[in-house]
Amino acid sequence: MIPIEQYGTFETAWCPGCGNISINKALKKALSILDLPPHKVLICSGIGQAAKSPHYLRCNCFNGLHGRSLPPAQGAALANTEVTVFAESGDGCSYGEGGNHFLAAMRRNVTMSYLVHDNQVYGLTKGQASPTTAQGQATKFQPWGTPSMPFNPVAVAVTMDVPFVARAYAAEVDHLADIIVQAARHPGFALVDILQPCVSFNKVNTYAWYKERCYKLGQDHDPSDWQQAMHKAQEFGDRIPIGVIYKGSRQPYEQRIVSSVRRPLATSKPDMAALADILEGYA
């Protein structure tokens, strides 16, 4: 195990009590358990409070654009399979602005883990409804209640047979760390939807609200059973299951591409003899 101190300590721009702080703690713990030195970790993020996370952790970091954590993460993961790749961002970035990338990433199934900080509200832009805000929930910008129904990322991922689908809760740090470890070890695309209170802008989904509802999935849940998984994925109300919802075994993308690709791509040089031969073919 790599000592947690190696991932550094940073002063953050987050509010005291923000769920991001405990998610950051859990991620460091998971990396330590995974025995990944900081330079073997590559985290891509989008824009939002959650997307600042990789700045508060010693790692290779690509803090890109809003909604775009997944495309560079997949690009980097395809270019170098020797680093462990995460994409990390909030619910607005991941399920709103980046919705199409989420759909495509589930289909593509590149080996990487997607850690979504899901606080059901926009924090950085100060409190608008997000794609996961409950229908009817009032915000400063939706004073008559959020008109649209919330997106259920976990159910969509199970539907798409994403090989690893989990729901976690930020305040359960050890439990979350264990899920991240499992996600990183599982071949293919892994989604970890992390429920997280926003102490400044979400007055509904508070620590007390989650504490009352979240329960850990036990031995009686078989994540390899798709029907059971779908059932658990739909459960979001008075009771919210946390843990590994679904585990599948779809073949990862990187095993289905052109066999001659030499990775890391950074070390691959063009075969000029082969190219000369290709040019001959145009004669």
Binding site: N60, N63, P264, M272, L275
Partner: protein, 563 residues
């Protein structure tokens, strides 16, 4: 105009196989030693409509397309109707016997009698064309054998038989089309279009990652890369949209891949935020933009040079960039190769601007000398850099050492926010100023590296035709015509349109009696850029924006009007 060339136009509906006939004939002509310029004009549909495949051929250099037709191969009756006014005095119309040639000389081909099945009609047409153009049958027979080889000997011999019978039939006809002068060359040339050459240039420079979203007329860059992906170890991914394509490429580039992203104007419009991200994070990327007429969906399958302003100004904020605009397939190869180098060397987005005309235009291309290519810049794969590595270390050139994540204990931190030298978010406004200055200093390097425009023709000319990109050939032909009329004429072709180095061209412009900028767009975007950057105003401009390529005839007519 020089009349040693023959302009062959094959017309018909989409799905009738005119591209098959065209490609076959054009390739046979290249193998036989002729020079060609292919122009493909098609509609945005899979079946029906009216499409043409034009091959201008000569034993001498040909520079661009031409409107008048010497041999019209009409696969349907509409082709005769639509193109009869373009037929030259010596023109022949080749058509099925059921098609009315409307009194024009030519041949009525008994396709039904010559072909056991309708699928052989293309090969029969080639037999007739081989006779009309006095081409050695072996060029066609070799191509037939190569093309149908995979389908088995039976298919090969069936096609050879149809070809032979059509040729024999044509020999019995008194068509009276004079043979072209035979070419003298014997050395091998490549049969390539602009997009092939772009893909090959990228591969030669080590491109090993391409993410794209399909869009005419850029898609053949991706398809050429895909064709060679297995042999060249390239990873090509069709992204969910253009936003993903550019961001995925940036992630791969960050991780050390050499990336190229082909698109067209509308797709590029979606990539603009990614270009800004490349500028901010100083991540190398080459974007190939194959232009078609806009705005919006515009004319999806036609040509224009209307996106220069788009690539010049794409992306919010200030950051350096370079824009190449090749004029020939040779330049497509060389400039894409150079673009890959420049993107890495200056850690900036670099563009290759082409257009539908050049993208689809096959030519006879002198084989590229791979051994003579200059070395290409590459990211630093050092593994022993100390922990204090800073991705954005402030340097005199503005270029910071670019290490690759995972290749040592260093950490590579990128941020789309303004950042400190070690890559982390900052709102320190002094750091902001230092970082902007650092990034913009790379622009000076890009400017030092800029390719000078090509000046060709008479010194101190009466008329100087300036142009960029695919308008090169038509400008050269125009100059040829005007010189024959006794007018001292020169051409100045900008193969790199940004940055501009005025020392490279202002003296040449000053040496000319009159200067005219020729562009395939409405507003003459390069002329405006030159005026903005140097204050120089061209004497006149020639523009074209009807979706068709600029031709010598078009330029000459516009010049007359401007006089």
């Amino acid at each position: 105009m020089p009349d040693t060339c023959v302009n062959i136009v094959i017309g018909g509906e989409a799905g009738q196989g005119l591209v098959t006939v065209g490609d076959f004939l054009a390739k046979a002509l290249v193998r036989a030693g002729y020079e060609i310029v292919v122009t493909q004009d098609y509609l945005s549909r899979i079946r029906g409509g009216h499409n043409t495949y034009a091959i201008r051929v000569s034993h001498e250099q040909v520079h661009g397309p031409r409107e008048s037709i010497d041999l019209l191969v009409a696969l349907d009756a509409q082709t005769v109707l639509m193109h009869r006014s373009d037929l030259t005095g010596r023109a022949m119309v080749l058509a099925d016997e059921s098609i009315d040639r409307l009194g024009h000389p030519g041949l009525s081909i008994p396709f039904k009698a010559l072909c056991p099945k309708p699928m052989f009609e293309n090969i029969a047409a080639l037999g007739v064309l081989a006779r009309m153009l006095c081409l050695d049958r072996k060029w066609f027979e070799d191509l037939i054998a190569e093309t149908f080889h995979k389908k088995g000997d039976e298919i090969v011999s069936a096609n050879l038989k149809v070809f032979a019978e059509a040729l024999a039939w044509a020999e019995t006809q008194q068509a009276g089309f004079s043979c072209m002068p035979a070419p003298e060359r014997t050395e091998k040339r490549l049969f390539l279009h602009g997009n092939d050459a772009i893909a090959l240039g990228a591969l030669a420079a080590g491109a090993n990652f391409c993410s794209y979203y399909p869009m005419t007329p850029s898609s053949s860059v991706a398809s050429t890369l895909i064709e060679h992906a297995q042999r060249m170890g390239m990873l090509v991914e069709q992204a969910e949209d253009e936003i993903a394509a550019i961001n995925m490429a940036l992630g791969a580039s960050y991780a050390g891949a050499r990336v190229v992203v082909p698109t067209s104007g509308g797709g590029f419009a979606l990539m603009v935020e990614g270009i800004s991200l490349a500028g901010m994070t100083e991540t190398p990327v080459v974007v190939v933009l194959a232009q078609r007429p806009g705005p919006a969906t515009g004319l999806p399958t036609r040509t224009e040079q209307g996106d220069l302003n788009l690539v010049l100004y794409a992306g919010h904020g200030d950051f350096p960039r370079a824009v190449f605009a090749p004029g020939t397939p040779e330049q497509c190869f060389e400039m894409t190769y150079r673009a890959m180098d420049q993107a890495e060397k200056w850690q900036s987005p670099v563009f290759v601007l082409t257009d539908q005309y050049l993208a689809d235009s096959y030519r006879a291309v002198t084989p590229f000398d791979l051994s003579a290519l200059p070395p290409v810049s590459a990211p630093d794969l050092t593994t022993d850099k100390p922990a204090g590595y800073e991705r954005y270390a402030v340097t005199e050139s503005g270029v910071s050492p670019r290490l690759v994540p995972g290749f040592g204990e260093h950490l590579v931190v990128l941020d789309s926010d303004e950042h400190t030298p070690d890559g982390h978010i900052t709102e320190d406004l002094d750091v902001r100023v230092r970082m902007v200055d650092k990034r913009m200093r790379k622009g000076l390097g890009l400017k030092e590296d800029v390719l000078p425009p090509i000046f060709t023709g008479d010194d101190a000319p009466d008329l100087l035709l300036a142009c960029w990109g695919s308008t090169f050939g038509p400008a050269l032909e125009t100059a040829q015509v005007l010189r024959q009329q006794g007018k001292k004429t020169a051409v100045l072709h900008f193969g790199q349109v940004y940055p501009l180095n005025p020392d490279q061209f202002l003296p040449l412009l000053a040496s000319a009696g009159r200067t005219v900028m020729v562009e395939g767009n409405y507003s003459c975007q390069l002329a405006a850029l030159i005026r903005q950057e140097t204050g120089y105003v061209f004497g006149a401009t020639v523009s074209r924006y009807d979706g068709l390529p600029v031709t010598a005839r078009h330029i000459l007519r516009q010049l007359e009007k401007a006089n």
